[in-house]
């Protein structure tokens, strides 16, 4: 397991999600001889520069050929390697969707697909590069585990846990450089186990990825308005932590989910699918990106525009709570 210090966390946060992924892989490579990392010509863009230079024998650039990349990864995994593959979110989850379905879903091969730049972090590169629906698609494939780390420390935790975990995974990286910090020091992380970061009495906010930080900030605003909120980091949406949802259903007046992903098929949908089995449960407010192709702009501009910042999240919750 990789050790995490406070100063590491500060550094990773500045470097941002992609570079932290690269650092995590580099740390993993030090003690795993069975590691292989594949990229579809985005090694440099995935923060893997240093790893590629230090461990060239553990890296393969398959070229701009995502479908082939998954197949090659599957072959390596079948022969005992622990394989991480990466590319930008839409390319890995959609261009190679069927290959993921056959190799990682159907054959359950031990490949971890890492989506770089999911959500709207690609800014001016536009919708072709945004990860709007990727969690939804990956979640729908049987045998897949889908994780969206909350911050850079959690990216390292996730990569480390993924290497130990036997089975196919989709790891969705959101956020850019100067990624806000949720975890200031090392902590317990388990795939599939949600983490309650704040305990409140009125409502429960489930969030993952960058929206964990925004939800914590939103909770502060809500507190000042007299609404006491719990905030739960639901980093794993498949398998979803049902107990965390059970707890929210018994203690909260409303449940809120917040994600840098479409409102269709992601965290909100996963929670709703479970909750709908029960009667007399609290209302559920799903906050996420709208079901449309988005305008393009600076990352912060887009988050603001689409309501994925603390002030707007709090506002939406207040309106919903009061009605």
């Amino acid at each position: 397991m990789i050790e995490i210090t406070e100063s590491d966390i500060k550094q990773w946060s500045r470097l941002g999600s992609r570079a932290t992924f690269g650092q995590a892989i580099l740390l993993l490579a030090k003690y795993r001889n069975d590691l292989m990392v594949l990229s579809a010509d985005l090694g440099k863009s995935s923060g893997l520069d240093r790893f590629i230079n230090s461990y060239p024998e553990k890296f393969l650039n398959i070229g701009i050929a995502e479908q082939n990349m998954i197949g090659v990864a599957a072959g390596l995994a079948k022969e005992g390697y622990v394989v991480f593959v990466s590319s930008f979110a839409p390319f890995i989850s959609m261009r190679a969707s069927e290959q993921i379905r056959m190799n990682m879903g159907y054959m359950s091969l031990n490949v971890k697909a890492v989506a770089i730049g999911s959500g709207v972090s690609m800014a001016f590169l536009g919708n072709s590069h945004f990860g709007l629906e990727d969690a939804a698609i990956m979640r729908s494939i049987p045998n897949m585990t889908v994780v969206t780390p909350a911050d850079c420390a959690e990216i390292v935790k996730t990569v480390s846990a993924a290497a130990e975990y036997e089975g196919p995974m989709y790891i969705r990286l959101t956020g850019v450089m100067n990624n806000p910090i949720v975890y200031r020091s090392d902590y317990e992380f388990s795939i599939g186990k949600a983490i309650k970061l704040l305990t409140g009495t009125d409502i429960t906010i489930f969030a993952n990825g960058t929206m964990v930080y925004e939800s914590l900030e939103a909770a502060k605003i809500l507190e000042s308005k007299g609404i006491s909120a719990s905030v739960v980091n639901m980093h794993t949406i498949k398998p979803i932590d049902n107990q965390a949802i059970d707890q929210a259903m018994t203690t909260s007046k409303i449940i809120v989910s917040v994600e840098e992903h479409s409102v269709v098929g992601g965290l909100g949908s996963a929670i709703a699918e479970y909750k709908t089995r029960f009667r007399n449960t609290p209302a559920h407010l799903i906050i996420g990106l709208p079901d449309e192709f988005l305008k393009t702009g600076e990352y912060k501009y887009l988050l603001e525009k689409y309501g994925l910042v603390a002030e707007k999240i709090a506002q939406k919750i207040i309106e919903n709570y009061e009605s």
Partner: protein, 79 residues
């Protein structure tokens, strides 16, 4: 600590190098640890130790030990 000592400290700590390596030749990509990740860590180090916020153009132009000295004067840091 003088400004020059602080400047050198950041280089030494970021790249795990010896004081003797701090010269004209020290520039981006000439040593393995001064890659893109190393560069961002270096800049963060200067921002922390001098309490400044560097502009993007300057971050990109900061290509060598000497160039850095020149660029920091813009932020009132005389070395």
């Amino acid at each position: 600590m003088t400004n020059k000592e602080k400047y050198n400290k950041v280089f030494i700590e970021t790249f795990s190098i010896d004081e003797s390596a701090l010269n004209d030749d020290l520039s981006y990509n000439t040593i393995p640890s001064w890659d893109s990740v190393g560069h961002m860590t270096l800049i963060a180090g200067f921002e922390d130790i001098f309490g400044i916020n560097m502009e993007t153009d300057d971050i990109i132009d900061f290509s060598s030990y000497n160039k850095g000295i020149e660029l920091l004067t813009k932020y009132g840091i005389e070395l």
